[in-house]
Symmetry: C2
Amino acid sequence: MSSPGRIASILIATALLAAASHADDGMWLLNNPPAKQLKDKHGFEPTPAWLEHVQKSSVRFNNGGSGSFASADGLVVTNHHVASDAIHKLSDAQHNYLRDGFHAKSRAEELKCVDLELNVLMSIEDVTERINAAVKPGMAAGDAQVARQTAMAEVEKESIDRTGLRSDVVTLYQGGQYHLYRYKRYTDVRLVWAPEQQAAFFGGDPDNFGYPRYCLDVTLFRVYENGQPVKVDHFFKWNPNGTRDGELVFITGHPGSTQRLITMAELEYARDIQVPGVMSYLKNREVLLNSYSKRGEEQARRARDELLTIENSRKVYDGRISGLLDPALLAAKRAEEEALKKFASDHPELGAADAWDKIAEAQQVIALRAPRHNLLEAYAFNSDLFGRARAILRSAAERGKPNGERLREFRDSAKTEFELALFSEEPIYADFEILKVKNYLEYVAMQLGANDPVVQAALGGKAPGVRAQELVTGTQLQDLAYRRKLYAMSAEELAKVDDPMLALARAVDADARAGRKIIETQNEIKQQAHARIAKVRYAKDGDKVSPDATFTLRMSYGTVKGVTEDGVAVPPYTNLAGTFTRAAEHNNVTPYDLPASWLKAKERLKGDAPYNFIHTCYSIGGNSGSPTLNRNGEFIGILFDGNIHSLVWNYAYSDAVARSVSVDVRGILEAMKTIYGADALVAEILGTK
Amino acid sequence: MSSPGRIASILIATALLAAASHADDGMWLLNNPPAKQLKDKHGFEPTPAWLEHVQKSSVRFNNGGSGSFASADGLVVTNHHVASDAIHKLSDAQHNYLRDGFHAKSRAEELKCVDLELNVLMSIEDVTERINAAVKPGMAAGDAQVARQTAMAEVEKESIDRTGLRSDVVTLYQGGQYHLYRYKRYTDVRLVWAPEQQAAFFGGDPDNFGYPRYCLDVTLFRVYENGQPVKVDHFFKWNPNGTRDGELVFITGHPGSTQRLITMAELEYARDIQVPGVMSYLKNREVLLNSYSKRGEEQARRARDELLTIENSRKVYDGRISGLLDPALLAAKRAEEEALKKFASDHPELGAADAWDKIAEAQQVIALRAPRHNLLEAYAFNSDLFGRARAILRSAAERGKPNGERLREFRDSAKTEFELALFSEEPIYADFEILKVKNYLEYVAMQLGANDPVVQAALGGKAPGVRAQELVTGTQLQDLAYRRKLYAMSAEELAKVDDPMLALARAVDADARAGRKIIETQNEIKQQAHARIAKVRYAKDGDKVSPDATFTLRMSYGTVKGVTEDGVAVPPYTNLAGTFTRAAEHNNVTPYDLPASWLKAKERLKGDAPYNFIHTCYSIGGNSGSPTLNRNGEFIGILFDGNIHSLVWNYAYSDAVARSVSVDVRGILEAMKTIYGADALVAEILGTK
């Protein structure tokens, strides 16, 4: 028996093996663009000016997304789902801006976000040599890790002191290269316009990662400095004519992470340990958030943004495990690795023949510790209050150490970002927090065993519900002034503070730190081995392969292109009228219910305006909000999703059936004008005011 | 700092330690009622006639619930949530009886259920001696298990041949006693009346296991024989005057399972292995069902009944893990066990001093195998089609063996029940089934590792999505005639049948059977040890303790009684008017939206009619639908839930804050008359027609 699904799988395998030869592959560094591929395939040669303009018009949202300047007066456009965290934090029981949308009719009405940081990349500098020089031959891995981290912190500190710009050393090719990225940093960001979430995320979880789509996943902010809108030299001109089928398009943005260059040992770890652990954690949270949301409208409002984030992540990991269990993907990866290994053994002068074994050994050590590490460190008891307690506790302990020897988030160059998060005025709801802490205490007990000493310490000899109530109602960490007071204390003063959440953070800290040290040490071993593999790859293939994503600025290219799924040809564009059709097909039942604003504007709306479209640009989580550009560097859309087949892009690129999805500039402008009456904003963007 | 939660916990601990002395404890056997306690505490002495009437008026729903006869013409009342499985199977895209309710205005309109079996207990016989005699001293555990199972199967077969009644040997006190239960069996059961699920389950998941409640969790069936309504001698008279606060009440029903008499080793296994495993499985399913439901109204309808079941189970297990992590509960259990152990060592003539160690050893073996056993055997790939494939495969293999040596579900005495399930005409939806199988293949791969040989065999060298599609669209097992054809085949003929789902069942069968054998053998060891502990308990305390629940008929008693939670006194009764108030408090938003029938009848309805009430009768899952009776054996309500504190009743009884929840007979009658116009049914029930 044959099935369309199986055919698709075979196509993917074939495409993976042949990928380098024809696909619009790669998430390219702005200082190393794919000039040859672009010229050969698309007859396009980006100039240095084009690249600089694109770089400086692009914006990073530090809560995990991308965006771009849309006017000289600091207007920034991103996805609604990138903005939703900020919109949620501006909302309360009386103002549900996620549900109802927001529109500042004047600059005075623009709402300042509580803890949002935006970055614009100003320069890139290769510092590989200096970072690697810090690691002396024969150094033990633990020492090497500290030495490398110290060198990175020094480079960053020097750069900040010299330029005043945010400065991050970025690890590329899993340790093959180190680049210093300097950013202009903006922390006064104000909400300007957002549609109702129902319009932005029409079709909800079932349509998420699907296509065709009908989403106005767009929000506008404005960046301020010194109380005034910032004036920027670089912003994208919006082209109201949009694109045509087959046209060359680009995205610039900040893909969070991919794992294309990992070894088979790392891939198997992802399949057998990492993804299963994350899935279990996500599903536990999704069930909790869903059941809390059903208690009432206010509870639903409080949990909404977090729930959507978790649902989205769950779908991402669903896609990953499907890929990791696909023998075609694994066979392609294995073949690729075998070819590299053969090249390495044929070229002993590269000194990389044992690099894969080193990684496999380190990965085994990581596999033993990682689940515990995630539970005690990464997930932070699923509690904002715990996170704050730990931040204050560790800050007091770390600040006395030399810059490079601290846990990396406490290095001098990260201070502004750290304090922005710690002093966030995001509201915390005690009932919700108690529920989350109780659930987490039970979760960690079930994962590590109730008799585990850390679990016992966390429970403090009490039932989880009793303990959660004591922790949340007993702490004062929800109070900003209290956090400022504790943050100003020395470690000795802080040790005397009697706060239950602080006590919990203390109780788990030694174990959490020990796990982190193990993982970071093994990662150093892997990094050294990956640096050797990177040399093999370069010697064998040149720089045909872009580095894995690192939440830093990248550029991808591709073409507007439909897709054939299960034998059905899906055209690249949808239009505004299709939204009403899809709503009607689902009897306007949630999540296919349209907001009143849309129903009211239906007759006046240009139904044939292109709304969403798909293209072959390589994207991943973090690219959300990426400006989608034509060859003139004009904004012709905004990326907001990939289809279900794109989820495997975490491990391998193929354009057989995987697509990125953008909102079309024509749909955005038509909706802003006709549905939302945002004529002034449209005039500002199009420069017609 | 003190908190109400902590106080509640202390209260529970105190109550546990003192339980035997004052609480309305116990799920009593009808042939061994708590005569002394009832007389001493409530001045009530049940006569043999009272007991026989109560026994024969009570009905077991074999899909996992309880009920009772409500008229001489075979009318049976149970909970809507017990009936919902049958109602779901009678529904399709055109008839959504769960959502819309059902009302047969004449007997001709009553709808025959597809695979529902009802049982009425006719007699109980103690066969302990005969069952134990089959196990010879010094027998290896594996042989002992077969010998015991053979004796049980023989007893059952003899009984069926002699009486024609369904005959089950029931294991009581974890192996302390064996009783033969004989049932009258009914398989022609027809749906008579059901309210809208929104009325039956008003408040949904958030209110589930809460109180106050406002649920019409009631459905009526009628039992037929030879195409005619059955005439029964025993049925409960409904008393339209209901109860008063403080009144003595009883429930009869079929509590599924409790674990009050398990040892500390078994309790710790539940905490560290069993409950965490089940929770992971339930949450994975809940997320899947929720996301499928959101795709559209028809998908929501298909998944609805299963989703509610899973949500309910998830809450049950949430309550269990909360209890298992409560140091007060564990301390009480430990103290109880220490006292028993001391008695055993003080009385060496009982020969039970090492019984606890034997159980602990067996439990360790079980702990190693149980997770795999659940994945390959108990969960059956979360697929109805797989379940059918396995049933057919094993049936062919087992039927050639001696009755007692077969897997227990294939013994002769279970044949009718087995075939009823196998030949169910329940609809199967391919899209839904593909999704479930894909999800399960991924789940089992993540749990056992992708390289596990059985996982590899299950995946068949394909990606999970491709494999699921091949399995579901390739099999013909959804076809009843095909199942009948295969069921008639010999093992040799069946081996030649090329059906992918049958092939999957074959591929995992050896491993699944091996795991089951290990677990059953260890359970035999535990059973022998528990029999010795039961003797110690009897010697120490007499029969003050009822056996753990076994989905067989039990009687509990208690009083109508409010509860004080977090310092707030909650009265025992709600009334019909309160339903409208609660809906209004939640802006009539799902799950607090009332059906149109209620809104229409609001003005005519007697708002002060008592609707739901709480009492101290000991109940657990399986008791749903239990008739709630007064001392005259009259029906004054129907149990449908316990409050959140009652979930710990699985491990220990206390009436400090835990309560059972029943629908009041007065609310049922008022709603049936005024909202549903079911006057003819009311007249039949009250004998006034």
